[in-house]
């Protein structure tokens, strides 16, 4: 991936960032836009998986907007007859629950909090991972050893049980705090793989040049190392998001996480304990929240796979060709 320091012939040695003196700010901006925004977007859109993923994701964002601006009625008990089947009436297209709650409004009004939780959780996980991975990989020596020992310990604690215990202890209600809590030790595995990438990057000549010029560690990490990690980080951001979806809904379903408003997992829990398991008549109560969960995670997976292609230089260079050879994202993020 090209960076500012690639055009070594015109490097001005006075400026630490290694940017040519002849290039104006506007030109730099437009080049940045070309390299980082337009080209990737073009490649991304060329991939069918990204298109479908974005399309599905936009449906969920639309649902969140509807819920936030209260464009669709809020769920409440006895707003409708009990256990209306799906697709029977326009008033309640997805049917109703045992206590007469409209399922569609339940699902729609669950979306904003879930999206908030996902974003918070994945920002936390990837943020800490980048910090730990780059610092350990670049600094090496004692810093590396200490950080990696901590990661190893954190990685050895099974995620879900830890989250459960923390949730019981601290009883958080805020979706942002919940998202962070769910991914509390997700960064460890990701940080480790980022570190091994940094280990190869730090031997590159442009990093060595920066170091020889006396550029400080934070600046080298921010300017030379992190941009090269961005592809991997972006893909893993999506996979961390999917983990939040899986884990949070699972724990809500288990009835372990505290909640103030209903969401898909809580609905599943009510359906499960309300006897939807025993009769076909109540099956829709169980099935529609499941579809909501699967749709969101499918969108995230497609997006992750498509983006992986965008950042894969082998694929990027032969844009138009339809080769299927891509490296799939890290299997570390698969299931739990």
């Amino acid at each position: 991936m090209p960076t500012e320091s690639d055009d070594s012939e015109t490097v001005s040695w006075q400026s630490g960032s290694g940017v040519s003196a002849d290039v104006t700010r506007g030109e730099r901006l437009s080049e940045f836009f070309e390299e980082r925004v337009r080209k990737p977007a073009f490649v991304a859109w060329a991939d069918r998986r990204t298109r479908v993923g974005l399309l599905i994701l936009s449906v969920y964002i639309g649902m969140a907007v509807v819920a936030v601006f209260d464009l669709y009625r809020a769920p409440s008990t006895n707003q409708a007859p009990q256990l209306v089947g799906p697709f029977e009436s326009w008033g309640h297209p997805l049917g109703t629950t045992m206590s007469g709650v409209d399922l569609l409004s339940l699902i729609v009004h669950s979306t904003p909090d879930i999206l908030l939780m996902i974003v918070a959780g994945s920002v936390w996980a990837t943020g800490v991972a980048v910090l730990v991975g780059t610092l350990a990989g670049y600094k090496g020596g004692t810093v590396d050893r200490v950080l990696m020992s901590i990661s190893d310990v954190v990685m050895a604690i099974p995620g879900l049980p830890l989250v459960i215990i923390l949730a019981v202890t601290f009883n958080p209600q805020n979706p942002i705090v919940l998202g962070i809590l769910i991914n509390i030790n997700y960064w460890a595995g990701l940080g480790r793989s980022l570190r091994s990438q940094v280990l190869t990057i730090r031997e590159d000549s442009y990093v060595e040049a920066s170091r020889a010029m006396g550029v400080g560690t934070p600046r080298i990490i921010a300017k030379d190392i992190v941009p090269n990690l961005m592809p991997y980080v972006t893909v893993n951001f999506v996979f961390a998001a999917r983990y939040v979806v899986f884990a949070s809904i699972g724990l809500f379903f288990l009835g372990v996480l505290p909640y103030s408003v209903q969401n898909w997992g809580v609905t599943l829990n009510y359906a499960y304990s309300g006897g939807a398991l025993f009769t076909w008549e109540a099956a829709h109560w169980l099935i529609f929240p499941m579809i909501a969960i699967m749709g969101l995670s499918l969108a995230l997976i497609l997006l992750g796979q498509g983006m992986d292609r965008v950042f894969n230089p082998r694929v990027r260079t032969r844009l138009a060709e339809s080769s299927e050879s891509t490296r799939t994202a890290d299997d570390a993020t698969e299931g739990y």
Binding site: Y138, K139, G140, G141, T142, V143, D144, R145, D152, V153, M155, A156, I157, P158, G159, L160, P161, L162, I164, I165, V168, T169, F170, N171, G189, L199, R202, R211, T217, V245, I249, G250, F253, L254, V256, L277, F278, W280, A283, L286, M290, I293, M294, S297, L298, L300, I301, L302, Q305, E324, S325, T326, R327, T328, D330, D331, A332, E334, G335, Y336
Partner: protein
């Protein structure tokens, strides 16, 4: 290299020690503290007020009125001896409950993980060889779809359809109530029958991801020069496929195996609750429901220890599988 093994072994103990300390600290943070609820419960059960403190000490290995460092030492030394106190809700030693639960959880996690690996690797390898074919596209599509289904959704659906509607499988338990434990055919069949649906839900949702990862790795390996050289040398396709491609493509998956194991072990909290399968996860959940702190922390500790040991074994064997591995320290900048 011996130095590495020594350090690696030390880390196992450090990790377990830290997690045990963490659990001690968390007990203190639990709503209402560790003793308030217990004290109320005991008083309600008619235990004389003078004996309550002694009973609590007996249940949790902690003297409520001792200083904090003393409580910590008591707790840690008891845990080191495998004594996690007495379960409040089940009124049995936690260690005994856990000892009965561990084999079932290990059984489910191990069998499903091995199945995921075998099927995932086979599917992925075939896909890589037939890259771009109908089969490849079909399996990729199915894999992505399966990856997007959480295992508990499959579990609930499987329970609904195969256990409740068709009645092919039992809805709860590890073995039939009339079967005596022992290595008899009835016991094995009953155990497999009870474990079939949990293992199925874990396996089916995991294969897709492994297959895709294996496919990607294999395609990358197939593009390497040494594979081409091996072909030019006239080696048989079979030898190239097993010794050159499969071996190098599987290696990266092996490290993912550890994380997978952790996810699966943790996931049993949800899985075993759905199937009412009394393993570690099930007891952890029921401890949570009944505010049974000794049982909760005991199961948490044992799940962690199981994972730490699993990772340890995998780490040690990795060096045998991949001789190139180097554990050199990096220069400090």
């Amino acid at each position: 290299m011996a130095h590495y093994y020594l350090r690696r072994t030390a880390r196992v103990f450090i990790t377990v020690f830290l997690v045990a300390s963490l659990s001690f600290g968390l007990i203190r943070l639990l709503p209402g503290g560790p003793f308030t609820l217990l004290r109320a419960n005991l008083l309600r059960q008619g235990v004389p007020a003078s004996e309550v403190d002694a009973r609590i000490a007996n249940l949790q290995n902690i003297q409520p009125d001792a200083p904090l460092w003393r409580q910590y030492l008591d707790y840690m030394s008891a845990a080191a001896q495998g004594d996690f106190g007495t379960s409040i809700s089940l009124d049995e030693p936690v260690a005994q409950i856990i000892a009965e639960a561990v084999p079932w959880t290990v059984f489910i996690v191990l069998v499903s993980t091995v199945l995921i690996f075998v099927f995932g690797i086979l599917l992925g390898a075939i896909q890589a060889y037939w890259e771009g074919s109908r089969f490849d596209q079909l399996v990729s599509g199915v894999s992505i779809t399966l990856m997007s289904i959480p295992f508990y959704v499959v579990a609930v659906l499987a329970l609904f359809v195969f256990a409740y509607q068709f009645g092919w499988f039992p809805t709860a338990g590890t073995v039939g109530p009339t079967v005596d434990p022992g290595l008899t055919p009835e016991f094995v069949i009953s155990a497999l029958n009870h474990a079939a649906l949990p293992i199925f839900s874990y396996t089916i949702t995991g294969i897709g991801g492994q297959a895709l990862a294996m496919r990607g790795n294999s395609i990358q390996v197939l593009g390497n020069d040494y594979v081409e050289v091996a072909r030019l040398r006239g080696l048989s396709d079979r030898r190239i496929a097993t010794r050159y491609v499969a071996r190098n493509a599987i290696l990266p998956l092996y490290t993912g195996f550890l994380l997978l194991l952790g996810f699966r072990l943790g996931g049993t909290v949800i899985l075993e609750q759905i199937f009412s399968y009394p393993g570690l996860g099930y007891y952890m959940w029921s401890a949570l429901e009944s505010n049974d702190y000794p049982l909760m922390m005991g199961t948490f500790l044992v799940i962690t220890v199981a994972l730490v040991i699993g990772v340890y074994i995998a780490d040690l064997t990795y060096g045998i599988i991949d001789p190139r591995i180097s554990r050199g320290e990096t220069d400090a900048y």
